[in-house]
Amino acid sequence: MLYIKCPHCGMRPQTEFSYGGDATVKRPELNKEISDHEWDDFVYNRKSLRGKHLELWQHISGCRQWIKVERDTATHEIFKTFKADEEVA
């Protein structure tokens, strides 16, 4: 079971969290004309690669904050966690 460091609460078991998917996906800008293709990329298309993956989790049974987690999809190792608004280097 994953052991995730919530930047607000500390080390917590995976069962306290809910998964939110790829954190690198950016919503197209508001009030700007966008193509179906861009919209597609935002809603459906995902890289989902093997290796380092930046993803969203929500600490639903804790502080209920959304956080970002950098994790390896092959080994499940977690490298680093970030607050939702924190820049990822």
């Binding site: 079971m1 994953l2 052991y3 078991p13 080994t75 499940h76 977690i78």
Partner: protein, 483 residues
């Protein structure tokens, strides 16, 4: 009924408490501290089941969790449970068990006809046939195969027992209470680390319970008892018997199944049947020991053929003889330990050693005791259907390619030792890739993947002295890291 194969004054069972139990409808007696297996062997019962496909007679091959054969249907407190290993089930008053996968009885089993058809039933034979005529598969072949499959019978009654879950965190989780587990636990505990020490069996001590060794001026067993007693008094230590670590998951999360009630006739009020522990450990020390390897020969599945370590355990822990006329077949020194135990208890074993001129302290000891030893000899086949009656043996050439003239020797059990295989599955589950160790012809854990270390026999180290030294050092080192 008497326990004809029980010997006086040996073993760790409680002879003041006699227990009655039933196997296949017949009443027998055993003692508190027995397993169903040891109690049956004490009564001379070796035929306990039938194999899955060919319905060949099945006896006891091991003495614990590694048992492949002695699988029974258990009846306890009005409930029934399939596929219980007789070697793991502790005896309680009123226990009832039955053989599985045989009809009408284990003694006379119709399914054994498959044994005579076996040349037509190679592995995967079903892929190649049962296709014609097409509709027969649905109405005849498959229902027939389904009926033949499965071992025990699952009760479809609602399970009324309770099961508990528990979360724990510790600095050091130690899996196995043999010499390496105890030495490391002791060292780490004295450094103040928070420890969980788990032992699968009811008794702590692992190999120390059956080997004739001294640690300091104590017997191995007394040393183990002393350490356990001391650990139990320490507030930073949790010591659990009947508790098996069965899974190693991501981020050093392990799971342990604690048997709380299955060794009792009835679960106590407010008690669970079992307890599942989720343990998040900073460090894991795997001291799960090793399992003896069988040797291949004809009919080596006949009841009465078993691991030499199991024969020794039945003798030393339960005071039970697995035979009165044993043949010990070994390719290493371990078989001699079993032979010596037999000899000490008035039984004359014959040792067949596949090696040409082995020399060691224990072999000299065996010779001095007057044990008959045949070097460069092997068992070619066991004879006897429901129980070993004799063995076909022959000498073997130095290059192990030529057999000499076949002889037949009478015996009532064959205790085999093909050396030892480290119990490494927990390390493997952590993601550790195993490596092959030539000297012991076996796999051992390689580079640690998570925070785990494997020590003692589980790491392919079979010397007690070295095991104690490295384990003590590891225990104290690992606990320093965390404080």
């Amino acid at each position: 009924m008497s326990q004809k194969f029980r010997i006086e004054n040996v073993g760790l069972i409680n002879r003041d408490k006699k227990l009655s139990f039933k196997f296949n409808g017949k009443t027998y007696y055993g003692y508190e501290g027995d397993t169903l297996a040891s109690a049956l062997i004490a009564n001379g019962v070796h035929l306990v089941g039938r194999s899955f496909k060919y319905h060949r007679p099945r006896g006891f091959f091991g003495a614990g969790v590694d048992e492949p054969y002695a699988i029974v249907q258990l009846y306890r407190n009005g409930e029934t449970e399939p596929n219980i290993k007789a070697t793991e089930q502790e005896l309680f008053e009123g226990l009832e068990a039955k053989s599985v996968n045989c009809w009408p009885s284990v003694n006379f089993d119709i399914g054994a006809i498959n044994n005579f058809l076996k040349i037509f039933l190679p592995a995967g034979f079903y892929y190649k046939t049962f296709m014609w005529p097409k509709s027969f598969w649905y109405w005849i072949y498959e229902p027939f195969i389904r009926k033949a499959a499965g071992l025990g019978v699952a009760s479809i009654k609602h399970d009324k027992e309770r099961y508990e879950h528990k979360y724990e965190y510790c600095d050091l989780l130690i899996a196995g209470s043999g010499p390496s587990g105890l030495a490391s636990a002791y060292a780490a505990a004295n450094n103040g680390a928070k420890i969980i020490l788990a032992e699968d069996k009811p008794r702590f001590g692992g190999s120390l319970l059956t080997s004739d060794v001294n640690i300091g001026n104590q017997s191995g067993k007394d040393w183990a008892d002393g350490i356990i007693a001391e650990l139990k008094t320490m507030p930073n230590v949790v010591v659990k018997n009947r508790s098996q670590i069965f899974g190693y998951y991501d981020h050093n999360m392990l799971v342990m199944s604690e048997n709380v009630s299955d060794h009792l006739p009835k679960t106590k009020k407010y008690h669970p049947n079992k307890r599942l522990w989720y343990i998040r450990a900073k460090q894991v020390l795997i001291s799960s020991g090793s399992i003896e390897r069988p040797i291949v020969f004809g009919n080596n599945d006949t009841p009465g053929v078993m691991l030499s370590s199991a024969a020794k355990e039945y003798l030393k822990v339960y005071g039970v003889l697995v035979g009165r006329n044993p043949l010990v077949f070994t390719n290493n020194d371990s078989g001699y330990e079993t032979a010596i135990e037999f000899k000490k208890h008035g039984v004359d074993p014959i040792v067949l050693d596949s090696r040409k001129n082995p020399e060691s302290e224990i072999i000299s000891e065996a010779k001095n005791l007057g044990i008959s030893i045949k070097n460069s000899y092997v068992v070619v086949a066991a004879q006897g259907y429901k129980k070993v009656k004799s063995a076909d043996i022959a000498s073997i050439s130095d290059d192990k390619k030529q057999l000499g003239k076949m002889e037949n020797v009478k015996c009532d059990c064959i205790c085999v030792s093909g050396f030892w295989t480290p119990t490494i599955h927990l390390a493997s589950q952590s993601g550790n890739k195993t490596k092959f160790k030539e000297e012991i012809d076996a796999f051992v854990p390689g580079q640690s993947k998570q925070s785990e270390i494997t020590l003692g026999a589980a790491n392919g180290v079979f010397s007690l002295e070295e095991t104690l030294k490295t384990s003590f050092a590891a225990g104290s080192e690992l606990s320093k890291k965390n404080n």
